[in-house]
Point group: C2
């Protein structure tokens, strides 16, 4: 179960983890199984764990006043499920995170993560690179959202994230793109021609 995480960290770090470091990681990350639809984080709760997804698929979303869900992020293997705002500020989250498929996840508290960062340089390195990548990805998504039509946004998304298209139903993709399922359905119909 922890092997995927070790591999993942080594990918980001400049030198591979030592055996001691690996042992520490295995001891720190707590495995958990989530059933489909099970909450990882519920609106109003403080996000106490970050979760590394070993197997499965999850989603993060907000529910507006009318009860409509808005997908903020989609996660699959090798993604980290987390509401950073809540977990760093210790404020109640406005988001829900739940399992879309049965999911195997490795949990770590913020305190433990900070501890690991102090003890294992590779972890710090990984975090920095992840943040960097994340900032870049967010920049792209924002850019796409403010400058493209819904059709182009879908095209780009489908090209850059085919795994998500296969894994999640259309209405979640639509919500992620900020449009309704009906609009996405029509866009796809158009595109075929």
């Amino acid at each position: 179960m922890h092997q995927n995480l070790i591999t993942y960290i080594n990918q980001y770090a400049s030198s591979p983890l030592t055996n001691e470091e690996q042992a520490l990681i295995v001891a720190t990350f707590q495995p958990k199984k989530l059933r489909k639809k099970q909450y990882f984080l519920q609106e109003g709760d403080v996000c106490k764990y970050a979760g590394f997804i070993v197997k499965g698929a999850m989603r993060q979303y907000r529910v507006d006043e009318k009860g409509v869900e808005h997908m903020v992020q989609l996660f699959i293997e090798n993604y980290w499920a987390n509401d950073r705002e809540s977990s760093t500020m210790l404020t109640p989250s406005i988001y829900n995170i739940d399992a879309w498929e049965d999911t195997d996840i490795l949990l770590v508290t913020r305190a433990d993560m900070l501890d690991l960062m102090a003890k294992i340089p590779s972890i710090t390195e990984m975090i920095r690179l992840m943040d960097e990548r994340n900032a870049i990805a967010n920049q792209r998504r924002l850019n796409s959202t403010i400058s493209n039509t819904a059709e182009k946004r879908y095209e780009e998304f489908a090209k850059n994230h085919p795994q998500f298209i296969q894994r999640f139903p259309q209405h979640l993709i639509a919500s992620f793109l900020g449009i309704t399922k009906e609009t996405l359905s029509r866009i796809r119909k158009q595109a075929i021609k």
Copy 2:
């Protein structure tokens, strides 16, 4: 000129910078003056510097096929102007960054920044916290963009960033929000009632 930067770093770090560290920072960051409209980064170029804004205002935008500008970020004092994708990947940027007002800025190359991070713990700390804040801010902006109407987006923005409203003309704010200047004009007219 460098004092603002020192203060800024100390704000983020857990212990204040030593005199040696301060001297190193002063020696590394290169001051530059930008006239209004002067480019800091031009589309197609690789972003070689990150710039800490001491005084002034800048904007980052993309120009689409039709020649329309889309504001991706707005910067004022104590912000960092930078295209992270270009400067970390060393790829040509798709963005322009230019001065909206006459601006005083402190330049640092990526290599120098990495060097500083190795030598000054406070810098590393600052970067991590900045990344964290940045990730949170981006999350919020994305959430707002996909789940709110243009009107609510403007309201939220005006509430959370009054400095920007005062500093930049309406058509830049509109572009930043992903709407046209005409739509923003009408939204504001509505809101007065």
